[in-house]
Amino acid sequence: MARKLPATDVVVIGLGWTGSILANELTDAGLNVVAIERGPWRDTAADFPTTYAQDELRYHIRHDLFLRPAQETFTVRHNVGQAALPMRTWGSFMPPNGVGGGGVHWNAETWRFLPSDFQLRSHLTQRYGAAFLPEDMTIQDWGITYDDLEPYYDRFERLCGTSGRAGNINGQKQAGGNPFEGPRSRDYPTPPQKQPYGPVLFAQAAREMGYSPFPQPSGNLSQGYTNPLGVTIGPCTYCGYCEWFGCGNYSKASPQTTILPVLVRKPNFEARTLCEVIKINLDASGKRATGVTYVDTSGDEWEQPADLVLLCAFQLFNVRMLLLSGIGTPYDPQTGQGVIGRNYSYQVTSSVDAFWNEKNFNPFVASGAIGMCIDEFNGDNFDHGPHGFVGGGYMGAVQTNGRPILGTRVPPGTPTWGAAWKKAIAQNYLSSYGMATHGSCYSYRDVFLDLDPTYKDAHGRPLMRITFDFHQNELRMSQFLTDRVAEVTQKMGPQQIVKRPRTGHYDDTKYQTTHTCGGAIMGTDPKTSALNRYLQSWDVSNLFVTGATAFPQNAGYNPTGTVGALAFWAADAIRNQYMKNPGPLVQT
């Protein structure tokens, strides 16, 4: 039986990027906020000191920063005809754990989505006609526009100190930036990071082919920067231990380096770590959340009553929490009815490896987001008419790392072990390079999340089941994007190139990205979305759900910029509308 604690104004489930942003905004508004986080407290000085944080074995191979599958995992299948089996070790994505969440271990690629991404269905229908879209594709408009979100993108970038070069300031195209981006109100807070040789070479080839290369926007900062909260983020040292690692240099934007130092000093904020929320509690009507129940490390259950519940965990955990708490109607793929679990999507990545005899790329001089990219083939920046698919992605030379275990590549035909393999590694470490594409993944009627009928977690609750496979539209897109980046690569003059487009079925054992999306999406109609345009639950008006959970489908960019912007957007709606008049912010 849970023991009841004194009530608070706001309870936040999960203290990652969005939980930190909302907690900071709402404590500023005078509310008492309690954040409950399943994982441990994490602090730069104590947890990621540069003297031992750059440990690929510990963090990349052994997944030290991530949740343990024994705590919670997922079952996976390709279609409704299969029995799903649990993931017993992480593969295609890495569920975060602990304070800072995914903000600790991301690469810090800080993008904005395209204006057309937010009105995807109406935009594509208008341009190509409804029949152009596959029949089972369930893409939707978001219920907000790029212009709605622009000020909040700006706030997230100012928080992070994002390093980049604008391509469009208030409609004026800017040389050297991304000409396809939506108009931004001002330039990035800090200039782009310095580009290593590989990206410089890529940009040169792309320019010669008539493309407009630009530096990837980076949350690993080109120079020191003091954000609006008074927290100073340090300059990046290009050590190349970003994704999968905590940054020991204070130079990667994360909750630790941007918000938490201010948040933890506030008397009206409290964080409870190593406490797992097991349920959002509802009153008898089922229309109002009364708080949450959580379990501490002793196995004791506690009830934390609150006026407002913010579900800010990782995308997949958010959806499961809604399903386990009985909030909203679970999605049924047979009828297409129901909203919780609907429109799950992912990301479609691919690469091209290139090998030279003589070049030296110094791959270890790296940061999670230094690189030169082109955006000619993202979203609807090009005419899809002749190609028979929709969607796209950015592509480029992004020098994320030259780490010794997995940051190496060898030409095809090399043995996978032994003397010949070692020789090939040594020969190719400096002189090979990998280009990447980062493609969209749209949503489909038969791709969804629900509770598994067989497998349960340590608390006896059903695991979440992922039913996902790549569709022909995405595979065609990946082939197309890979061919385009291969053309640029060819122009860079390598002796050999190897194209690796995404093909075949989804393989959940191979890392692709952690950009899982959707499942409780935002929209304008409670029949086809779980959340309104302010991320407020249609069913329980004192519940807001943040993160990529709300994406109706995924665009051809890394999601964190949009996740951060949406968090500020929701915070403003709570501060300026909800607090004055608690209740549904959108009437149906």
Partner: protein, 419 residues
């Protein structure tokens, strides 16, 4: 529904109601509030919390162990609890404890309580602190008795100590100095009790006023509190007032950062002081730094060994330190402190730089610098030889003039307590 107010306002409202019930006049209530607030400020300046609160425990509940060469003392409960705290004390008795080092029953207080410094505090300030301490929640917990070895467990020995090391008397302003200087001197010599650490401590656990601020090893903690009046150590004679103020208030400055026990002092105490008070302390501390330093130290290791150390030290520095502190030791102040011309690296005692390399260094989080950058520890990855080598290298490069250190010195400090 949505009608809960912020906690602070609720508290104030409740407080206002209570005062209203006692029919106290509004003006008197305001005066009392102001006195409590002033007392809270002075208790910060005196850093009472550092000893009288167990980290994470009840405010001023006492019981924090203070290991000394003579045994372990436990700090007293200074909450208004009648049985265990100072609930029965009068303002007069409180002042007497501060001023004379005698508790309310006339008993002698062990000089771990810095009454040789607090004796300089004015009666008015003492009364404000008393009013504040009466306002904090009472803590009912009894405090552990001291655990001192014979003969130090005999309190009458304190009488002899007092004869040697204690002179009673409030601070007397020096008319030849500025108001700011006098304010700074009052805070540094009095509530700040800076000399408790920054003066040499003899075998009897005392320090003589004539050697005040000459620096000393803090017993049991194994940190060296540098001299405040030698420019070769932490003497601030050639620092700008702005840099000294930054260091005291935010924990970092262009010239260097605080670490070790001083980080706690900034965190618990100095960051809360007003601009004029910080400025006064800076003016006074700068004036102290005009004196000559201690005698030049004698080399402890042979020159052939030190040249070997230097070569190794340069390699270790290049691979481990230079990415933040720069090849030329200039750092990127204030977050990556300069090592060149950094006094705390060149002092005759090498304890602090060795400990920084072994255990890392952590400036405090302050309102002015909410996310301090921590220096990571190297104890797990560098050998004693490498630690000695890199410390020797930074102590003697870029114009620095510190002596070489030995692997043995590095090894000894591996067991120093971490808090």
């Amino acid at each position: 529904m949505w009608n809960r107010r912020p906690p602070l306002r609720r508290l104030l409202l409740a407080g206002a109601c209570l005062i209203g019930l006692t029919a106290m006049g509004a003006a008197a209530a305001r005066a009392e509030d102001a006195l409590v607030k002033q007392g809270e400020y002075l208790a910060r300046a005196g850093d009472c919390i550092a000893c009288h609160t167990v980290p994470g425990g009840a405010l001023f509940g006492g019981g924090r162990p203070m290991p000394t060469p003579f045994g372990t003392l436990y700090s007293s409960n200074i909450t208004p609890d009648a049985a265990n705290g100072i609930g029965k004390w009068t303002a007069e008795q409180f002042y007497a404890s501060m001023h004379t080092g005698r508790s309310e029953d006339g008993g002698l207080i062990y000089p771990a309580m810095p009454f040789p410094a607090y004796t300089k505090v004015t009666r008015a300030d003492s009364d404000a602190m008393y009013a504040y301490l009466r306002s904090v929640p009472a803590v009912g917990a009894a405090v552990r008795p001291h655990d001192l070895r014979f003969p130090y467990n005999n309190r009458s020995l304190i009488l002899g100590w007092r004869t040697l090391f204690f002179s009673e008397g409030e601070y007397k302003p020096d008319a030849s100095k500025s108001e700011a200087w006098n304010r700074g001197a009052y805070l540094v010599q009095g509530l700040g009790h800076c000399s408790m650490c920054h003066s040499p401590i003899n075998a009897l656990g005392g320090s003589s006023e004539s050697r005040a601020f000459e620096g000393g090893l803090i017993p049991m903690q194994n940190w060296y509190a540098p001299s405040l009046n030698s420019d070769k150590e932490a003497g601030l004679g050639d620092w700008s007032i702005a840099d000294i103020s930054d260091l005291l208030r935010t924990g970092v400055s262009k010239r260097g950062a605080v670490y070790g026990p001083m980080a706690e002092v900034v965190y618990d105490s100095l960051q809360y002081l007003t601009d004029p008070d910080i400025n006064g302390m800076a003016v006074y501390l700068k004036s102290l730094g005009q004196h000559s330093g201690p005698d030049a130290s004698v080399p402890t290791i042979s020159s052939s060994e030190s040249s070997l150390l230097l070569r190794l030290g340069r390699d270790v520095y290049g691979s481990q330190c230079a990415s933040c502190h720069g090849e030329g030791g200039l750092g990127m102040p204030p977050h990556f402190p300069p090592l060149a011309d950094n006094q705390s690296i060149q002092m005759s005692s090498a304890v602090n730089p060795i400990r920084m390399v072994l255990n890392g260094g952590y400036p405090p989080g302050t309102a002015g610098n909410p996310m301090p950058y921590g220096m990571p520890p190297f104890a797990q990855s560098l050998s004693d030889n490498e630690v000695a080598a890199v410390v020797t290298y930074i102590r003697s490069s870029w114009g620095n003039r510190g002596e070489a250190v030995s692997a043995r010195q590095a090894n000894e400090l591996r067991t120093a307590p971490l808090d």
